[in-house]
């Protein structure tokens, strides 16, 4: 299964990104890691180019909202079929209530939203989700 991953926007927090890369590979995924400082369009292009099954975006520095609110519009331009859109990390500025954050990001077009959730917990849930979808 192919995963495109990276850190969105003007965000340089690379540590989790390195660990995600390693963990995805260990779980048997084929990984295309765009690294930090990646814009939404670049992610979507990469999904198309690599014919990926999953787009897994990280955001740590609190800017995700500004960068991701346009996802729905961008998604409507291409046909992504059943690509799974996931986002995780630190998804707000300041201390946020996950109960309002999660629905917001779902509204933007993400299937899975992991606010301040451990990497491995998140990846376990991703794998379950893929199984449920019959992938």
């Amino acid at each position: 299964m192919k995963v495109v991953t990276g850190v969105v926007g003007n965000d340089v927090h690379v540590v989790a990104n390195r660990l995600i890369d390693i963990s995805l590979r260990e779980r048997g995924f084929e990984v295309f890691n765009l690294g930090v400082n990646t814009y939404l369009e670049e992610f979507l292009d990469a999904v198309v180019e690599t014919d990926a099954d999953v787009l897994l975006i990280s955001s740590l520095n609190g800017e995700a909202e500004g960068w991701c609110r346009d996802l729905a519009i961008l998604k409507s331009r291409y046909d992504f079929g059943d690509v799974v859109f996931a986002i995780g990390g630190n998804l707000g500025v300041g201390e946020m209530n996950p109960e309002t954050l999660v629905p917001k990001y779902r509204g933007y077009g993400f299937d899975l939203v992991f606010h301040q959730i451990d990497l491995n917990v998140g990846l376990d849930r991703l794998e379950e989700h893929l199984k449920e979808r019959g992938k």
Partner: protein
């Protein structure tokens, strides 16, 4: 008109800056209150200076933040810049600032100084009449620093390496050196008018498993690059490693070598200060554990004899702290410093010797590069992997050095990559490492990153 002045005029002339009045700014700096200069503060007190981090998108929120800090007993105020501004993306910063002002939600993780401008910002700085330190992480900080100095911010953090390798993915390295040369020279110019402008390097780097040898080398290099341009007051820094002894060893060696190299290059008149950053890596989600971590950092800062401490907050793991959480940390750190007494003088000869040797070895390799100027030698050193930063997002970073913790928590070189350190020094490092039977190095590293969780 000097070349520098011509460049300055170009820099400050842009669509985001109101007319920049050089004469007025010169006059302002020349007549500015001594209380705005941290360099002056360092001369007049022995007390460790307490400085939080912090910045909000709007003027009002920063003003309130400063009020909160002042009543918590802050020594030095911070001005943290948002990350769009850091990447010179003033247009996005402007958009997000407008959204923040309209909707009363913070859409930026710091203060977009360019968009606010120096006339507005200076009002705030002079109102509080307290030194302010500019925290950014910008490779091209020319405009930012012009606006900051014009605002009355007389301490500028960063440097061509420390604000590039940890903070950028592909910003060209040589440009960064040249842009920072500009910054140093502007700081040096203003330093002649009143008390010196203080420059501070950013020792935490990527805040993740940074071996002291690399931190120290980069601190010394940025210090030399700055002094070379005429800066007279400079702070070297590093952040809590996770081992008390390694912090003490780092501080002892850094203090000694900073003086040694400054003197060797003819900067006997430069004042050099030591700054300690509380734990910069991943924080626990339990806020009372964060409090404990913050106090522990404070105790260590006192033991290493730092001139300034930069504080974290109990909200670190969650996001940008509220002003209340931030001020709470300041008050608590001041309390701890006030009551801590009878600190022993500690050191470790063997550790200090080995660290100093490694630093000297790399420094000599840098100096021996055939390039004509120091910055070019350093540039080559980074390209050759003679200097690199673990967990840097930058594409030019060698990414070959691997570090792990020894059983006492000291960060050790497991793989020295291309660092030009001797077999003997490296053997000392290696001899301290113990891996568990069958443990993979990557699992060890993940554990070692998360020691404070």
């Amino acid at each position: 008109m000097s070349l520098l002045q011509r460049e300055r005029e170009i820099i400050v002339h842009n669509e985001f800056t109101d007319r920049f009045d050089f004469d007025e700014v010169r006059e302002f700096v020349a007549g500015a209150s001594k209380n705005l200069f941290i360099s002056h503060r360092f001369k007049t007190t022995d007390k460790m200076q307490v400085q939080p981090r912090g910045g909000f998108p709007t003027y009002d929120k920063v003003f309130k933040l400063y009020e909160e800090f002042k009543s918590a007993g802050v020594d030095i105020l911070p001005l943290t810049i948002d990350s769009n501004t850091r990447l010179n993306d003033y247009a996005t910063a402007k958009k997000m600032l407008a959204l923040s002002e309209e909707n009363d939600v913070d859409m930026l993780n710091g203060y977009p100084l360019i968009n606010h401008g120096y006339r507005t910002t200076r009002k705030m700085i002079t109102h509080f009449d307290t030194p302010v330190s500019l925290r950014h992480g910008t490779p091209d900080a020319r405009l930012l620093v012009e606006i900051a100095l014009a605002s009355g911010i007389f301490e500028i953090e960063g440097g061509p390496i420390t604000y590039l390798l940890p903070y950028s993915k592909n910003f060209p390295l040589d440009k960064a050196f040249l842009y920072w040369k500009y910054v140093e020279r502007v700081c040096a110019l203003y330093s002649e008018l009143n008390e010196p402008i203080n420059r501070e390097s950013f020792g935490p780097l990527s805040a993740t498993m940074q071996p002291p040898v690399i931190v120290l080398v980069i601190q010394l290099i940025e210090m030399l690059l700055s002094l070379e341009e005429g800066v007279k007051s400079f702070s070297v820094s590093f952040s809590q490693t996770g081992s008390m002894l390694q912090d003490i060893v780092s501080a002892n060696v850094l203090k000694r070598l900073a003086r040694k190299y400054a003197d060797r290059f003819g900067h006997k008149d430069a004042d050099i200060h030591l700054v300690y950053h509380q734990w910069m890596g991943a924080f626990p989600y339990d806020k009372s554990f964060s409090d404990a971590l913050i106090t522990t950092s404070t105790v260590i800062a006192a033991m290493v004899g730092a001139d300034k401490i930069i504080t974290k907050t109990r909200n670190e793991a969650f996001g940008i702290p509220t002003k209340e959480a931030n001020a709470l940390a300041v008050a608590s750190v001041q309390y701890t410093l006030g009551m801590l007494q009878g600190l022993p003088d500690v050191g470790d000869e063997a550790e200090e010797e080995n660290l100093a040797n490694m630093v000297d070895e790399i420094m000599e390799a840098v100096f021996n590069d055939p390039a004509d100027t120091l910055w070019r030698k350093v540039y080559n050193a980074i390209k050759k992997g003679h200097i690199e930063i673990p967990f840097s997002p930058h594409i030019i970073n060698a990414n070959e050095v691997i570090t792990v913790r020894d059983p006492d928590g000291n960060i050790r070189l497991y793989d020295r990559g291309k660092l030009p350190i001797s077999d003997r020094s490296f053997a000392f490092e290696k001899s301290k490492i113990r891996l568990r039977e069958g443990e993979r190095v990557v699992d060890k590293i993940i554990r070692d990153i998360g020691i404070m969780l």
